[in-house]
Amino acid sequence: MAESAEKLKILICQGTGGLASGAAQVAEAFETEFEKQGVEASIGKRCAVIGTGCRGLCANDVLVDVCIPGKEAVTYDFVTPELVPQIVQDHILGEGPIEKKKAGPYYEKFLEKQQRIIFSRCGTIDAESLDEFLEHRGFEGIRKAVTMKPSEVIEEVKKSGLRGRGGGGFPTGMKWSFCAATPGESKYLICNADEGDPGAFMDRSILEGDPYGLIEGLMIGAYAIGCKFAYVYVRAEYPLAIKRLQMAIDTCYEKGFLGKNCLGLGFDLDMRIKAGAGAFVCGEETALMASIEGHRGMSRPRPPFPAVRGLWGKPTNINNVETFANVSYIFYNGADWFNAIGTEGTKGTKIFALTGKVKHTGLVEVPAGTTIKEVIYDVCGGIENNRKFKAVQAGGPSGGCLPSNAIETEVDYDSLIKAGAMMGSGGLVVMDETTCMVDIARFFLQFTRVESCGKCIPCRIGLKIMLEILERITEGKGQEGDIELLQDMAYDIKKSSLCGLGQTAPNPVLSTIRYFRDEYETHIKEGECPSHSCKPLLHFRVIEDKCKKCGLCPRVCPVDAIEWEKGKVAYIDLEKCTKCTSCYDACRFMAID
């Protein structure tokens, strides 16, 4: 502790988002600069450049914290390698922070309403360092858990009120008790890290930012249920997550924390990563198990439930990454502490991945009970380009769209379902007035139709037919009765599909019809897309009253279809226009229609 306290630390977000924005180069620049300037000698302190997990504000990567001992940490955003010499020169060696380059007040606001529990180690510690993990309460949870009987551990989880974070919200303690109660010598524990919803990446951040924390959660679960083998099923599209988790597992084995007599606490646990093969349906637990067994990822009927007959026919317990991450903290701080956070029905915090037309896309962790509005406006700074909020898709392709009048809905399993969406894994795709709701329904259905495993008929064929109807509508070829037909088949598909994928896939269609039926009708009856998003229905023109003659649109037009002279209203040549929407997206005054 003492040694590191005296270090000067540069914390650089090195999650997938950070790295994509050039975090590795920034880190290298710091190293080079420290060397070149002889910083350690000048300030008389060791300097450490530390790669941390994601800290949430991915929109503004690369984020860098400069932590000078004795002083408050300073956060810079949009850091590039070019900026590094200046930070070193002016801030570290000079008189202090460069105010201009510091993350603005929005960063404080971004953090203000959040309650970063699961993320407490993400973005603050070196994700790959076991020592740092141990310095931050690492393995305190499992050490506490083993002082209790397995049944007491399950009781503690029940008491905490933790519900599954994978989407369904099934009480975790109860799930554990089912598997624990099934007789059998060998049982399996599976961590579902096959995060496949478009726009969801919270599990990835945990895997990348706090892999040891996840291992600890799994240890507690395995001890409570009596599993000797745990699988973490990670989608193959998360190479960094797999690398970091594998590194963490390997380190744990080296130290004797995993394997026989884990941590010397008298229980055995082996852990292995199983990388997925790119199928969304493998996030469904029975398909996931089929995939681990080496079969094609296809759902199996339940019952028998995994707790009775799961992986290789043995009792199996499956939870999501975030659920296991929560477990560690429940044992650090106690079930009562956890139970005090959140609402009546939903305890603790929930991580959301915000994408779409929101200013600060990224990951936020808020206590249950926060409203969606607070998340979008207070935490994430509202809608991009100051446009009007239209809807938010909560729960990924299985969830639903919530319109502005439902935006006060609290982040809570039951409230979200009541509003026509679902918690899902926690993806929030924010849409503004330029987003067409029919097109959004089409987008999600396109996704589920392709990702259907093809086993059951309603999902395999039904979704394709639904999609074809939606495509027809977005092409202006909608027919009278299409909406009713969609609703009717959606109902039958939900009722008759084999697994969660098919049972929820029609949700985006149903919820958009519920809240935006008029948009569907306009498409069908008038052949118009009110949001100017459906290409075949577009015929762009400039609204003269609104045009501020700024000249932005001709600059973004890739085919020179816009005629403009300084001080004059722009004119779109429809002959040349390819309906690429660049002008429409670029116009800040909604002057293009």
Partner: protein
């Protein structure tokens, strides 16, 4: 048991039952499409959805959901009907609906469901499938445009057959059933997929455009090929067998068949069938009348009298075998035998000396619940494929531990976690002895009630696992583990097949296997069994009816020697092609040449028949009534489905006439003969024809208790010292020589071959299809090479079914033949 209510009806069913099974019991109809009784629950088609009061708010698939106490099920409601109809509409959007030219028309589940739910119009529209049809192989056609993706083909191929030809590929709507790399089907062609397909997506090609299902007459009979005794339901039209129908209600095979049973029926309709009696005049065979032929036979046999030899295959019915024995009696001859006379001695002498039995001790279906299975020879799957499928199910569904004592790899050795004791040729007995030794050394043997323990112990001094490991090339651990697993299992099975290509050390092998079954307690224990299975459809019947030399009689081999030395006056060969299939062709030919009077009764003018003085055209199994006894002692009824071609007659009729010619009494009908033979055969006493129900009747009950428990010491062999050793055996696609007259098996394996392992092929510079020569003892055989990875280095294999190869010129009953390979 669990009580539940379905549509107001109270039912009590086993707690493992599904809602669907309970409904069947209650007589409530729930539609299904992807469900199959013999496959694991799947739940893909969603037409069996029902409402369950305890699970409100969603629809429950009846075929996968287990029953629970007090469940209240509604099988039909407006909502259920609507959802089922929607599902059918979905299916019909893309399905090609080419029913008028689809062979499945009239018995198609999709057609029936569409009709039942009156799907007269479709609210949805979409593209029709337009996938190419797989017509690469001659037996199974796959038209994926008709597929409903119920997965039954993939499931049956995996769960039951254990071949794994099919899988789902692609995702979503593009999902389809395909083979590896989406190529043409190339498998063992058992046609289980054909039988399971609910629509016309997988069809038997030989049956295409032959008949509408409702035009077919269906006759349940027993397959005429191997000792498995599968029920085959012959589909006939205009007195011709056109196809084999799917039938999972009768017999021992649960509707499963192999390529021979399903596609091997066409020899019945073969153009080459004998239709008229032939008689030798001036050196050549000419057609004649039955009267003349029979008179000649009666004359000839009367003259030879007790110096007549009678040899049969084991394809005749029990009734016919009974008559044949009566013919021998009438002639005063004890020279009667079957199947070469040597290969079955493991049973008749081996098991007799040890267990006091001459039959397998248990039934086939029991094996599915075995914990450990020992198969002696990997060829067991080749000789008895459908029993092999039961083994596959035991391994896959119940995690049975399978050990294969094998001189080459095969289907069994590839089953999940199968342990293969891959040994040098001819050393099976050595390995079994070593296993016995392990049991005795480690105190695992159940020696109480056994006699001969000390003698066996002493005799096994030379069979320490270490020694045997060295001789055979199998690891010590593998031998020990195999013995321990067999001893530890609650239910276990030992499998051993015999037949014409497995003549070597037959008796010794039978004794060794019996010793092992005694030491492990397998023989006679409920749930366990020693299976010694005959190659032919009625091998067991021939033994039960004692179609074997009497006390002073000659066996088949001695008859041949006697004939060769001019000491046999006549030979009556019924249903056997000795020249083609008996070991040592030269010797057989010499004997047949020398014997003064030779009568051959057969379906075809076989090489044996060509040497005859009189040839009598006989009937196939499809043309006669009677019974076969399969290798598990199951007596089943054979039924005539079609008339014989031309003047051909059943062996029963011919033998009756022969008996009459001698003035002996012959039973008038097969039924009468059955009554006589049961009275005459100890094990069959008290069995009447009406006791042979849908599952036949297993004589001696399911578990046959050993009469004696004698351990008998038996010596192993020494490995053959030769760089290249040829193994002779059965191929999966054929059975005896009969299947070489059937189009189905011939379409897959049409000519003889010599099989090489990859290493040998490389070293000898032999490629697939090359013409290769094998020479041994101055004789040369020639055939195309087949190269794969089944054979250990230095070991070659050739199937014995093809007369043209002349394999028995070099095969004289040796366990392996030292050969020189040339081109």
């Amino acid at each position: 048991m669990v009580n539940l209510t379905i549509d107001g009806k109270q039912v009590t069913v086993s707690k493992t039952a599904t809602i669907y099974e309970a409904a069947c019991e209650a007589g409530v109809h729930i539609p299904v499409l992807c469900y199959a009784k013999k496959l694991m629950p799947y739940g893909a088609c969603r037409v069996c959805l029902v409402e369950v009061e305890q699970m409100k708010g969603r629809l429950i698939p009846a075929c996968t959901t287990p029953v629970t106490e007090g469940m209240v099920v509604t099988s039909t409601s407006d909502e259920i009907v609507k959802v089922r109809k929607t599902v059918l509409e979905f299916l019909l959007v893309n399905h090609v609906v080419d029913c008028p030219v689809c062979d499945k028309g009239g018995e198609c589940d999709l057609q029936d469901l569409t009709y039942e739910y009156e799907v007269v119009s479709n609210r949805f529209e979409g593209e029709k499938f337009d996938l190419p049809t797989d017509e690469v192989n001659p037996l199974i056609e796959r038209n994926m445009n008709r597929c409903v993706l119920c997965g039954k083909c993939a499931r049956v191929c995996d769960e039951i057959v254990g071949y794994g030809s099919y899988s789902f590929i692609n995702r979503g709507f593009e999902t389809k059933i395909a083979t590896a790399f989406d190529r043409g089907l190339n498998c063992e062609f058992c046609g289980q997929c054909v039988s399971m397909c609910p629509v016309g997506a997988i069809l038997p090609r030989p049956f295409k455009f032959k008949a509408r299902p409702w035009q077919l007459k269906e006759i349940d009979s027993v397959c005429g090929y191997c000792g498995n005794g599968c029920t085959v339901t012959l589909g006939t039209k205009d007195n011709k067998v056109e196809t084999i129908r799917f039938n999972d209600k009768t017999g021992v095979n649960d509707g499963n068949l192999c390529v021979r049973g399903r596609f091997g029926y066409s020899f019945i309709n073969s153009e080459d069938r004998l239709t008229k009696p032939l008689i030798r005049e001036n050196g050549s065979l000419v057609e004649t009348s039955w009267d003349k032929a029979l008179a000649r036979v009666a004359d000839g046999l009367k003259q030879s009298g007790s110096e007549t030899g009678i040899v049969t295959g084991a394809r005749l019915t029990n009734e016919e075998l009974f008559l044949l024995r009566n013919v021998a009696k009438a002639l005063g001859s004890e020279n009667i035998d079957h199947s070469g006379g040597e290969c079955y001695k493991g049973l008749t002498e081996g098991l007799q000396q040890t267990l006091g039995l001459q039959a397998s001790t248990a039934t086939f279906p029991q094996v599915e619940n075995c914990d450990a299975i020992l198969s002696i020879r990997s060829d067991f799957y080749e000789t008895h494929p459908v029993f092999g499928m039961v083994v596959n199910q035991a391994v896959r569904r119940n995690d049975a531990k399978l050990t294969v004592i094998a001189d080459k790899r095969g289907k069994f050795t590839k089953l999940p976690e199968a342990k293969t004791l891959l040994h040098k040729p001819g050393l099976e007995v050595n390995l079994i002895n070593a296993m016995c030794r392990v049991l005795l050394d480690e105190g695992l043997a159940k020696t109480e009630r056994l006699s001969g323990v000390d003698e066996l112990k002493a005799a096994l001094a030379d069979y320490a696992p270490e020694t045997v490991a060295e001789t055979t090339g199998v690891s010590v651990d593998a031998i020990r583990t195999a013995a321990r697993e067999l001893a530890a299992a609650e239910n276990a099975a030992i499998l051993l097949a015999y037949g014409l290509p497995y003549t070597a050390a037959s008796k010794e092998l039978g004794i060794a296997a019996a010793n092992l079954s005694l030491l492990t307690g397998i023989a006679g224990r409920t749930g366990s069994g020693l299976y010694v299975c005959g190659e032919k459809n009625n091998s067991q019947g021939a033994i039960d009816l004692a179609v074997m030399p009497g006390a002073t009689g000659l066996g088949a081999q001695q008859m041949l020697s006697a004939a060769a030395q001019g000491q046999l006056k006549a030979l009556y060969v019924v249903g056997e092609d000795m020249v083609s299939s008996y070991p040592d062709r030269k010797a057989v030919e010499l004997a047949l040449d020398k014997v003064p009077f030779l009568v051959v009764q057969d379906l075809f003018l076989s090489p044996t028949a060509q040497m005859a003085d009189v040839v009598l055209p006989a009937a196939s199994f499809a043309e006669k009534d009677g019974t076969f006894t399969n290798a598990e002692r199951r007596i089943q009824r054979v039924r005539a489905a079609v008339p014989s071609p031309g003047d051909a007659r059943t062996d029963f009729n011919i033998l009756s006439d022969v008996l009459s010619a001698f003035g002996a009494q012959a039973p008038a009908t097969a039924a009468e003969a059955f009554a006589q033979l049961t009275a005459d055969t100890a094990a069959y006493q008290g069995i009447s024809l009406d006791m042979l129900g849908a599952q036949g009747y297993v004589w001696g009950t399911d578990i046959l208790t050993p009469i004696t428990r004698n351990l008998v010491a038996v010596a192993g062999s020494k490995p053959l010292d030769a760089a290249h050793q040829l193994l002779v055996g059965s191929a999966l696609y054929h059975s005896g020589t009969m299947s070489t007259h059937a189009k189905g098996p011939m379409a897959v394996v049409s000519e003889p071959y010599i099989e090489f392992g990859r290493e040998d092929a490389k070293a000898l510079n032999v490629a697939e299809g090359d013409l290769v020569k094998l020479s041994a003892d101055g004789e040369i055989i020639e055939a195309k090479a087949k190269v794969d990875n089944r054979l250990p280095q230095g070991v070659l294999f050739a199937p014995y079914h093809f007369s043209a190869l002349g394999l028995n010129k070099i095969y004289r009953g040796q366990p392996a033949i030292a050969v020189q390979v040339g081109k």
